[in-house]
Symmetry: C2
Subunit: 488 residues, 2 copies
Amino acid sequence: MADKMDEKKVTPRSQDFAAWYNDLIIRAELADYSPVRGCIVFRPDGFAIWENLRDELDRRIRQTGARNAYFPLFIPQSFLKKEAEHVEGFAPEVAVVTHGGGKQLEEPLIVRPTSETIINHMFAQWIHSYRDLPLMINQWCNVVRWEMRTRPFLRTAEFLWQEGHTAHATRQEAEHETLLMLEVYRSFVEDFLAIPLIAGRKSAAERFPGAEQTYTIESLMPDGRALQCGTSHYLGQNFAKAFDIRFLDENNELQHPHQTSWGVSTRLLGAIVMSHGDDQGLRLPPSVASTQVVIVPIWRKAGETAKVLSVARDLAGKLTDAGLRVKNDEREGVTPGFKFNDWEMRGVPLRLEIGPRDVAAGEVVAARRDIPGPPGKSKVQLAEIVTSVRAMLGQIQANLYRQAKAQVDSNTRQFDDYAQLRAQMEDEGGGGFAELYWCGNARCETRIREETRATCRAIPLNQSPDQNGRCIVCREPAAERAFFAKAY
Amino acid sequence: MADKMDEKKVTPRSQDFAAWYNDLIIRAELADYSPVRGCIVFRPDGFAIWENLRDELDRRIRQTGARNAYFPLFIPQSFLKKEAEHVEGFAPEVAVVTHGGGKQLEEPLIVRPTSETIINHMFAQWIHSYRDLPLMINQWCNVVRWEMRTRPFLRTAEFLWQEGHTAHATRQEAEHETLLMLEVYRSFVEDFLAIPLIAGRKSAAERFPGAEQTYTIESLMPDGRALQCGTSHYLGQNFAKAFDIRFLDENNELQHPHQTSWGVSTRLLGAIVMSHGDDQGLRLPPSVASTQVVIVPIWRKAGETAKVLSVARDLAGKLTDAGLRVKNDEREGVTPGFKFNDWEMRGVPLRLEIGPRDVAAGEVVAARRDIPGPPGKSKVQLAEIVTSVRAMLGQIQANLYRQAKAQVDSNTRQFDDYAQLRAQMEDEGGGGFAELYWCGNARCETRIREETRATCRAIPLNQSPDQNGRCIVCREPAAERAFFAKAY
């Protein structure tokens, strides 16, 4: 086993970021390639991260008043066509079921790429009066988009996500919901996944097909490329009109409701791997790690084994009882050093080493995954182990965010000169976040995209505008700064 | 609103069981029909039951050592053909994707009807040595089977389920796993869903396509029809051979592992509705009810309102803090009687009524959903409310099981005479469980099925065989008794 593992080395991140990412996902057994084009298998260690993430986000979504439901996987092809922009955006990438039960279907069914159409068809049956509003539904499910280029987690033909769909009596309420969910996502990704973000709105060109306004949380990966981590859309009355959703308001007049939709996906797993990983492998935030603490019992002479193992098991029990996710690595036939490397590669936040001398002294050695080498090691009294471990996990979570934030900040630059922006974006890899004044005109945005491959990632919500701002391209007055970057 | 509800009366169960079932699901807002043939929408009140059920079963499955993972929705058509019986069983009912991203696919993809094929394809990559065994994977997902006749929850084109897939070094271990999971299902459905079961093995004719042995949990619905609630299969080495899964055993020899698969689905929601519901509506076991306790504050004069509402809210807070799922119904414009009926229809196990006199006396009236009328009502001291409510919910759970068990028992008959069996099965509806000696010969089983429409539901695991048992059809010696019934 040890031999087999040694064969499959992970490419160092510093050497080739893309190869490192792909190697690491396979080697840490987060996912595997499948025989179906563009689809991956989520292996238990990877799926457990998704489950931890999902359970916490689900709790936060429920707190806003939304309730979970489940709608059909299939959507009649005609539904997609009811909203003009929506069909234009999604028709090119749908998978189509043409046969069922051995017969050709009268109307082909598409496999949902997103569920606005079928959910709003049902909303039209359920919404009659202002008393039925707000209607706030969330769905955890699989969706399919036939993407040309796929990468594990980041872009796959099938992926898992949640999609929220709400209907409100007024524009104001719906706009408030859109921004509320953006904030739910922002705080969740920053606090729980330790990934620093910019929250803002999208330019018209980058909007969700059918939305009046799209808001986004964007992060910057260590290779200098931006990753969209979640979006929240204000849909206006577009889908309500297309699907004939109407309600009697308090004055007994028929109105179309104002709507929102919002989602995050398994792409977040890719964000975690890239934002926190290093040359040694994964580094998982304690909040989502399937194993938060690994115990490695160490013995040399046969006589020491029983005592060390007994203390290690006792320790594992105590930490598990305290609600922590713990593994006790009693594997034989591999060295402690091998185990250290293995668990570091798998990203376990905290390792507790326990040998005969530690047992005698009533302590263990704790090694933090976020601080390499001796500075990350400390002795912890067994008597205070639960308190100490909890405190250290909290510090690791905070430190992973700090490190990721420093990385993003060091790769975020303000540009006022278009030639300098082009120079920055010239290399093959990323180029970081470019913060710049943009007039808002699509022509300038297109020119930046075509000449630098950077797109408008977000126009931040909180601006402190400079009265003298001028568009980096056309030099016309510009009221807002925007973040541009090459993106995944 | 009251008027609208009154319009949609539920057909009494005693009058038309099938109509009652369909009406109730719509009226209690558990599910709705969708625009996609044979697919339903799980509305929040129905999906919450599934979520409660799923979370508890997931916990029990994990305790056996299985871990969750996720495999692709799509399966290459050629995979299905690798196991001869499997393709014969599933090919007629698959949905086929022929186009993706605007192009015809080189090889069509089927939407998974079950995942043995793709999971075992992956197992072949992951299993190399006896050290990789047992491999125990569980998946919660959607599956699609193009059924001709569909009914909400019981048989739908798309449904939700969990499917476990395991590989073991020996036949003995795999057989043990098959029976262990059957027992996990049995205790879960009996204890948590309060549905009485017969656990046994299937006849050869009723086996899962590709299995060597299929075990089942079967219940009997109040209309006298059996419902299969879950199955656990011993697959032998059939799929291991078809997908070339091999491992080096401890003697360094290549072996095929022995495998199992097992699953339960959203069909269980139908079992809950049918087993427990009555003319007044749903009756949900407290374990899975999305609302376990509803509080109905009652006031007549304006001066009473504030005090009653304040005590009701305080009560709701106290019960919620104790971990119970509580609703406080403060709706205005509908009478208390209307609210009582509404929550009875929705199956809430316990109702707490609180009026000005109750407030003054420091008590509430508790009304149990499982015992109609005055006998189900009692006064509960507010000071002891948490303890009392917990105890009553426990009693309701136990009583729902007892009532369902009495129903099944009263509809279970032993038959020794074939003419009597035929007479019993003659009416249009069910016919109950028929317990009888059967020689095990397929010819006799076919004759029963063709002449009575009853099929072999289960051959119970624990038999106390009569040496003189004779097959009800051919009168040849028969070693085992079997349960036959008309089935959903």
